[in-house]
Symmetry: D2
Subunit: 149 residues, 4 copies
């Protein structure tokens, strides 16, 4: 779906918020693509994100999928707002292994009180990719809390 952003500076706002998330650094995550209603986050799969079988922990796919979906919702908000997750469901479809995980979040239905989102998470190795997770959930806009420096 094509969306028209309400905030012309949505990309800078979204990237600034992402940069203030320590969890994303812990997960080796960077924000690559930011478009109205669609955001992509990539994780380098640091060793500290694995589970007992050597695959990525479900929490890694969840975290970057949830953040990608949340920032997709955030990209459509007026300035002065940000997003919190209300609920999210994830299906794990295949073990997460490889060089990196790529999560793309999309807005399904934007709204003033709540925004419905989804995300796909892929693992990539040697240029080939596998769909490892799908998420669908509910994001809620809240007034932006400025960093207090």
């Amino acid at each position: 779906m094509d969306f028209t952003p309400k905030d012309p500076d949505f990309e800078a706002r979204v990237r600034a918020s992402f940069a203030r998330q320590p969890m994303m650094e812990t997960l080796g995550a960077t924000m690559t693509d930011v478009r109205p209603g669609t955001v992509t986050i990539v994780s380098t799969i640091p060793p500290g994100t694995l589970q007992q079988q050597g695959s990525t922990h479900a929490g890694l796919a969840f975290s970057i999928g949830d953040s990608a979906a949340g920032y997709a919702a955030s990209s459509l908000l007026p300035t002065g707002n940000e997003i919190v997750t209300s609920e999210m469901k994830i299906h794990l479809l295949a073990p997460g292994r490889g060089e990196r995980l790529v999560a793309t979040g999309r807005v399904i239905r934007p709204g003033r009180r709540l925004t419905i989102v989804e995300a796909d998470v892929w693992s990539e190795i040697a240029g080939a990719r596998t769909l490892i997770a799908k998420l669908m959930g509910t994001m809620v806009p809240v007034p932006l809390v400025e960093p207090t420096t």
Copy 2:
């Protein structure tokens, strides 16, 4: 609900698997209580698990809730098996703030092919606690993959 474990050494097996999860160390998580069908995991909320508002990232509550629920399912398996998450839904009910997060996972219905689980996640500060998340999902037993040392 009361469950009878099929593996008398379930606690040692569950704790050994947990100890091999690098993600849990990254999240400052330790396994406290292990009983048949019920497991508790506590996180000290390392600074690297926060989001942009200074609360815990949704991925922290998800990760420890998912692991607590998964090990609750694992505790009821015969020896030689472990658990992977098939799907999980989380509701975030309040911001995660405080000294630590405590996740308790429980089996709702055990099964040979799939086990239905739930988890509650609490934040604690100065002895008071707040329910910050509830999870419900599906775990699937798989043959144990031995660590290859």
Copy 3:
């Protein structure tokens, strides 16, 4: 949890809304208990609600569980409001068979913009009951649309 209703006539309001739902009559459903934040709906399992194996269709447990949860949320609203479902997850735990299904919905966390709810659905036969489904979801308050008759 104990909740204090904002509308002293919540029970009459909730029962009047239920009575205007043709779907509930189709499903042989009546509203039994109505308390602040908790509502019970019972279905007599009409033959037209079965699936191909002779058990109740997943849609029956969903419909009465969703309605019980929605009216539980509605019971806590100020007058002039009602509830629509935003999202709902159901786990089917056992086949629905017997004389009737009983769904109890409860509010987990009330809110001005959205209310988090859950429901349990039981089948009953000869006085014994089996938990057949659990639901957890999100309800949204909307202004009451008066019947136009």
Copy 4:
């Protein structure tokens, strides 16, 4: 995705099972398209499927979406099997109004122990259609129970 059916008579098997579901007749539902991994079910929205605001009850979109997704999973099974729903999440995106609801279910990932599915539900009026619901869930194959008549 393109799937190769394991049962050359999958369409006849799926349609025969659907015909034995009294709930589908109650909901004015017919099965239109049946392809490997994709099934469409249409409801004429009988008056007995509405809720108190005159829109379709959430249970109608759930029931036909769940059945479309379940039969999509069933279409890929070997002969002698059928499907039961383990869990399903539905997002309601818009009120269901119009001449009919159309639900298309699809397999996301088939499996021997469980199949992951999704469904979209549309309302149609005067040839225009609106997406009113999205579902994602887990189906479990079970041995076919033959009708005993």
